[in-house]
Subunit: 333 residues, 2 copies
């Protein structure tokens, strides 16, 4: 059952059916009535594809996110949906997982659904190898591609990023100024923003004339319990640290549990900084000082930029928002 069946059965052209669907005034009442009654008879759902025949737009945006169970990504999707709806756009979301082949497949699927634009949420869509980004660049030949927290320099690709480098630099610098000397950097992924944060940490260490130690840069994608154990082992292997800065709040929760287990006083003997300012940072005792990457502002800026792109206005290739450290009970400054 489609628009062509309706056209045939009602004896009018596809263009006329399309005009009826779009509420165009250039259709007689009699024709309109006939078309609508055929639709009813055939049980036809005016689909978005058909609507688009007339309007040349579906008012639908495709959103891709790698993992809806990640609180940062889930919140970004939530704010994107809300702001798209305010602007009269519907959104289709695909949760792609982390495998390149599935990301490629879903992007094709969205383009096949004739979305007006695609928003990629999270830096996990960008591969270090530029070949892995070809599918994004190809998509940008068809529709605008917005990227949140990732950067790719190419026409028709618009990126909104947090200044994760500066935020991690500042946080590390403040840990040093407040007396910490052996600062552990604990992170969970080597994504675009993961690398930005790591670089911010490294530069703050060296610009304070401290030495970078490989043993104090730890990458682990485990859960809270695993992180607690990892820190425990490190500590018992004599890798002494007096501050921990993390790339995600759940890693900071692991740090709090590790400190409690070993009777280490926070923030007196150990400072801890989380990242994302998520609900987790409010749950622990002490509550965690955490970098707020302003997921709502990031999502709003992305939708605002997208609306400008669709209106053919000028939009820079990269929009950078700053981050703030929300100070709670795990820092001395």
């Amino acid at each position: 059952m489609n628009i062509y069946d309706v056209s045939e059965k009602s004896g009018v052209s596809i263009a006329t059916v399309s005009r009826v669907l779009n509420g165009s005034p250039n259709v007689s009442e009699a024709t309109k009535k006939k078309v609508l009654s055929v639709m009813e008879e055939l049980g036809y759902t005016p689909n978005v594809f058909a609507r688009g025949l007339g309007l040349n737009t579906m008012n639908t945006i495709g959103i891709m996110c790698s993992d809806s169970s990640d609180p940062f990504l889930a919140n970004a999707v939530y704010y994107l949906e809300q702001n798209l709806r305010k602007n009269g756009y519907d959104a289709f979301l695909c949760c792609t997982g982390y495998e390149l082949v599935n990301k490629q497949k879903y992007l094709q699927l969205l383009l096949g659904k004739r979305v007006d634009a695609v928003i990629l949420v999270g830096s996990s869509f960008l591969e270090a190898d530029n070949n892995g980004n070809k599918y994004i660049i190809e998509a940008a030949h068809k529709v605008p591609v917005m990227i949140i927290n990732g950067y790719l320099a190419h026409p028709n690709i618009y990126c909104t990023v947090c200044d994760d480098y500066q935020a991690t630099y500042d946080a590390t610098n403040n840990l040093i100024k407040s007396g910490s000397r052996n600062i552990l950097y604990l992170y969970s992924s080597k994504s675009y923003s993961g690398i930005q944060k790591l670089n911010g940490y490294k530069d703050a260490i060296t610009s304070n004339n401290l030495s970078l130690k490989d043993s104090l840069m730890v990458c682990n994608s485990g859960d809270i319990e695993t992180i607690t154990e990892v820190l425990d082992k490190l500590y018992k292997n004599d890798s002494k640290f007096d501050a921990i800065i993390t790339s995600e709040d759940h890693l900071a929760v692991g740090a709090i549990k590790f400190a409690k287990k070993n009777g280490i006083k926070i923030p007196k003997d150990l400072q801890v900084i989380g990242y994302n300012n998520s609900i987790l940072s409010h749950c622990t005792d002490p509550e965690i000082s955490s970098v707020d990457n302003h997921v709502e502002a990031l999502s709003i800026a992305t939708v605002t930029n997208l609306m400008r792109v669709l209106a053919k206005a000028d939009v820079p290739n990269r929009t950078t928002l700053s981050n703030d450290l929300i100070k709670r009970e795990t820092t001395r400054f």
Copy 2:
């Protein structure tokens, strides 16, 4: 640019273009070559709609969820996507928000995209007033509708629910057996599962010959800080309670903070039970005993049922899974 342009330009029927798209063997090599070169020339993306012309299925399932920032819903979506993919299905997700008009609109949109079935995640899709459920029943005339954590008796609607009544009954009963007498029930919504839980609480109280008190049944949809204040006020207004059972983990986090603020010892003087067994229950000190509603099992059961429905096998209208209390540090039993 669509399949009809390709048909016209290559001088073959739509059915033939469709056969090419579907890799059907009943097309000559010459025709195939011609169609593919026209597609290339027109920059045509074989869309899912076109694919479906031949296969009579898109292998695409629509998922609707009211709020992707809710951890339970976000996890359900994550497991649904994973399991659908394992079965060869793609998924489109719509985050509808809580307003009926948007839920209706998104369901129409999904049907317009010709999905093979729709999955509604979370009991917030069901209205107490049956008129509000008409749009779901209408959808069920077109495609199978699966509901997670909600129940609607109608052909072609298949519900997977947790036994929230029994879980809350058992939890409350255990609080009483371990010595609590004034048990506060704290919940955040009067949805289908919210009501099930409340009834479980009520029946456990009365079947133990204790009296139900309105002042001990508190509905509040606030954040952790608000909940902490609400409990503080109740306590100071002499509404003494010696146990708190909640409908969500974040409410239990509020209970822990309230107890700490007032120097109340957990679990000695106050037992606390959370719900959902989310990451939040691991973050606090003490860690929270919480009801595990097995979001993964629930999602797998839903996909399994859906695959059986699509294969025309018999599936019961309601599948009920049991819940378990995961005992941590906030209970005495």
